[in-house]
């Protein structure tokens, strides 16, 4: 459970830091009057959707941290046999990186009021995300063709399960991207578009990051690092 406890510690630090900015030591019973006397204590001015995405990313990180915790605990059992890494995963990773780069392109374009760039960015981002998903399906097929079925070893089970959960999250992102694309289609103004694109980009980078961590764990490349961390903790 060290992954999730570590994540909770990070959350605790963030929440603690934020709370420390909120005058929690104030004596509200003595402080009647307009808020102008107490600057910086009002509601957050971040757009609600952005804040909502931030909270959702915390929830999703908690979810993946728990999968990783379960993974590392189950890994210690004697029946664990690491599975071979299909070369296709390299390609998929590259495509997902491209997807994030394209989305970043869209973000930069939206900041510069360049509508053509936005369209190119989100179309390329969406298309490469779809290619990534197809690539993941192919990787599944390669593995099962080679006899690595979901139930034949816990390492396989985790591989299929975590990639599926990651894929589902990406599909959710594609739905949001679809709505943004529809906005562009309907000829929405740049200011309306700016937030939608920004949220999609944040989510894309998040999923790329999750994928890199998950890939490192599932393929065992980060085993040494994990061992060092474990030794530090215990």
């Amino acid at each position: 459970m060290s992954a999730i406890v570590l994540f909770m510690a990070v959350i605790a630090v963030i929440v603690g830091w934020w709370l420390s900015q909120q005058r929690l030591t104030a004596k509200p019973w003595l402080e009647e009057g307009s808020i102008d006397d107490f600057p910086g204590t009002g509601a957050m001015t971040v757009p609600a959707a952005k804040l909502g995405l931030g909270v959702f990313l915390a929830v999703a990180t908690s979810l993946f941290a728990l999968f990783i915790s379960a993974y590392s605990m189950r890994m210690d059992m004697v029946d664990w046999r690491a599975l071979p890494v299909p070369a296709l995963l390299w390609f998929n990773t590259g495509v997902l990186v491209l997807s994030s780069v394209a989305m970043q392109w869209a973000y930069v374009s939206v900041q510069r009021n360049n509508m053509d760039g936005v369209i190119v960015g989100i179309c390329a981002g969406g298309a490469s995300a779809i290619i990534f998903l197809i690539g993941q399906l192919l990787a599944w097929r390669q593995l099962s063709a080679a006899g690595y079925f979901v139930a034949s070893n816990p390492a396989n089970s985790f591989f299929y399960m975590i990639t599926a959960v990651h894929g589902l999250h990406l599909m959710g992102g594609l739905a949001a991207l679809g709505r943004t694309t529809a906005k562009v289609w309907r000829g929405a103004e740049m200011p309306q578009l700016r937030l939608s694109v920004e949220l999609c980009v944040i989510y894309w980078h998040f999923l790329l990051l999750v994928w890199l961590v998950v890939l490192g764990l599932l393929t065992g490349w980060t085993d040494d690092f994990v061992n060092i961390c474990r030794r530090l903790l215990s």
Partner: protein, 591 residues
């Protein structure tokens, strides 16, 4: 009992967060069924939770009938008894209490108390309810599928949860896990709303330290739930994989009916870690809103400001943080390393400190207050006593050496029913009596309410106090019949029969409550806008029940904290949060 007139202040400063365009329903369907108004969603949540809660109440009757009069009722066999236990526990903890506190009270009170027009994502909020309803329907459908609901116990421990000896192994467990996954998805949608609304949609002047404790409680509990429910999600998904795809996440090598099963190497303890990483915060997800609400009830009905508001806030935050590092105290008998046991016992006992601070502050709020023994106040007082009782037995069970012999006995059942069954339900009921006038514009009947309180309160003690004694004798939990054993004295049987009769009576008393809810809706005394003469914003709405958008033309502006009761020199014994200081001076009050 006068309606507090709403007057926009002459010089309203601009809001920090600009007003967003409010969604307006266009038809009857979108106004009352697929509504995006948090108040309607709150009522939908509450009614659904109450309906499924009543099912769980009937299940508890069935269990009590069997325990009190074993062998008398032919329609209850061992399998069914286990199914009743499982469904009763799961429904009460998750589908009733969590949904009611966060989905029900959260939706109704957060926007009103922070001075917002609605939740920030009304559409997602609506989806949240419909996914929750789907989860409830999937759960209830297990009563009608072949094999019936799962009988794995509410903790659903593998390997037995998905083995053929356990009732509901076919459909019951699959649908239960699916329902939990749906519930978590639905809750996450709602939870995002509650958190972001508190952070971002507070009206001008509503600083965090001016929030009523109800909002603090619900807010913190929601953050905890958002972070803890994924653990149940992960556990449910993995168990579904084990059950449907034959993986071995949790399933060790097993021989069933002389046959080697396909499973091997899995770790049941892994499930326990995941389950309790959710399960312990869950206790506080239910308790923190209760803490917050009870603080407001006590302050309002004792006409006194809450004692130690800052401490109350800090305690809520501290409890929220600590509750994530105590989970393994549910696993003392799982064969864990003694050092771990020591660590978790220590954190468990530390959490008693902020909790005790809260209890002291409630008592000190009451001290020399102008206590009105209204029905909400009675329930609030009932909560404090019950929570202290349940909390003290929690100190027993938090210690490894005491927990090991008491584990899996009726003592544990008595403990958690006191602390997270009866105590939060007291708050739920008190809160309904308190806010019903705001929701409907009419008062609940007082006599029926007092009758309901006394039967429920005394009855709960008559049921659960003797249960501690049974547990100390060693009577095990989850047994549908205890049979003959040296430690089973005749008094065990007598007490069991007695508790069962009381349980039937307490259950029936809830019918009076339900009748009161319906009767008062049509015939109750009109309440006016602020019958309890309370300070918080929800009582200052221009209309009662609050209209769509809550606040008429302009959002309220907050000038003070939520607990200005009996302020020396003030004309009235309460000053609403949105009353500017200047007006108070006009009334001849000293600043």
């Amino acid at each position: 009992m006068v309606d507090v007139p709403y007057e926009a202040t002459v010089d309203v400063p601009p809001a920090e967060v600009p007003e967003v365009e409010l969604y307006h329903p266009k038809s009857w369907w979108t106004q009352y069924v697929f509504s995006q108004d948090a108040k309607v969603i709150a009522i939908q949540y509450s009614l659904t939770a109450t309906a499924i809660g009543l099912v769980a109440l009937v299940l508890s009757w069935m269990m009590r009938l069997q325990l009190g009069f074993p062998g008398t009722f032919s329609f209850i066999d061992a399998s069914q008894y286990l199914q009743f236990i499982t469904m009763h526990g799961m429904i009460m903890v998750i589908y009733l209490l969590t949904a009611l506190f966060l989905g029900g009270f959260g939706n109704y009170l957060i926007p009103l108390m922070v001075g917002a027009r609605d939740m920030v994502f009304p559409y997602v909020n609506m989806l949240s309810y419909w996914v929750y309803l789907l989860a409830v329907i999937v759960l209830a459908s297990t009563f009608f599928v072949p094999g019936g609901p799962t009988g794995a116990g509410w903790t659903l421990y593998p390997p037995q949860a998905i083995l053929s000896g356990t009732p509901g192994q076919d459909w019951g467990i699959i649908l239960m896990l699916s329902s939990l996954i749906l519930f978590i998805i639905g809750f996450t949608m709602g939870g995002l709303n509650y958190v972001v609304t508190v952070l971002q949609a507070r009206t001008r002047g509503m600083t965090l330290m001016r929030l009523p404790l109800t909002v603090w409680g619900i807010f913190t509990a929601t953050i905890m739930a958002l972070l803890a429910f994924p653990a149940l999600f992960v556990a449910s998904v993995m168990m579904l994989f084990d059950r449907l795809l034959g993986t071995s996440f949790f399933m060790p090598a097993l021989v069933e009916m002389g046959q080697q099963m396909k499973y091997g190497g899995g770790s049941p303890i892994l499930f326990q870690h995941l389950f309790w990483f959710f399960g312990h915060p869950e206790v506080y997800i239910v308790a923190l809103p209760a803490f917050g609400i009870v603080s407001d009830l006590i302050s309002t009905h004792a006409r006194k400001n809450i004692f130690g508001y800052r401490m109350m806030v800090w305690a809520i935050v501290a409890i929220g943080a600590l509750s994530f590092i105590v989970w393994a105290h549910h696993m003392y008998v799982s064969g864990m390393h003694p050092t771990f046991g020591f660590f978790f016992a220590t954190t468990t006992l530390i959490i008693a400190i902020p909790t005790a601070i809260k209890v002291y502050n409630w008592v000190l709020t009451l001290w020399r207050g102008d206590i009105h023994l209204t029905v909400p106040m009675l329930f609030a007082l009932g909560f404090i006593i019950t929570f202290v009782n349940g909390g003290l037995t929690g100190l027993f069970l938090g210690n490894v050496v005491v927990d090991v012999p008491l584990s899996d006995t009726m003592f544990v059942v008595a403990h958690f029913h006191m602390v997270m069954g009866v105590a939060p339900i007291m708050v739920v009921l008190g809160a309904i009596y308190h806010w019903y006038p705001k929701v409907t514009g009419r008062m609940l009947d007082d006599w029926m309410g007092k009758f309901h309180f006394w039967v429920t309160f005394l009855g709960a003690y008559l049921i659960f106090f003797p249960m501690h004694y049974l547990g100390l004798l060693g009577v095990p939990r989850r047994y549908h019949e205890i049979g003959e054993a040296a430690f089973i004295t005749p008094s065990v049987h007598t007490l069991n029969a007695f508790m069962s009769v009381v349980a039937l009576i307490v259950g029936l008393a809830q019918i009076v409550f339900l009748f009161n809810l319906v009767w008062s809706y049509f015939k109750g005394r009109p309440s006016g806008g602020n019958p309890w003469r309370a300070t918080t914003l929800e009582w200052q709405t221009p209309e009662t029940p609050p209209g769509h958008g809550n606040w008429g033309k302009e959002l309220p502006v907050v000038y003070r904290w939520a607990y200005d009761y009996s302020v020396p020199g003030a004309k009235e014994d309460f000053i609403p949060q949105n009353q500017p200081p200047a007006r108070r001076a006009l009334q001849g009050a000293t600043p």
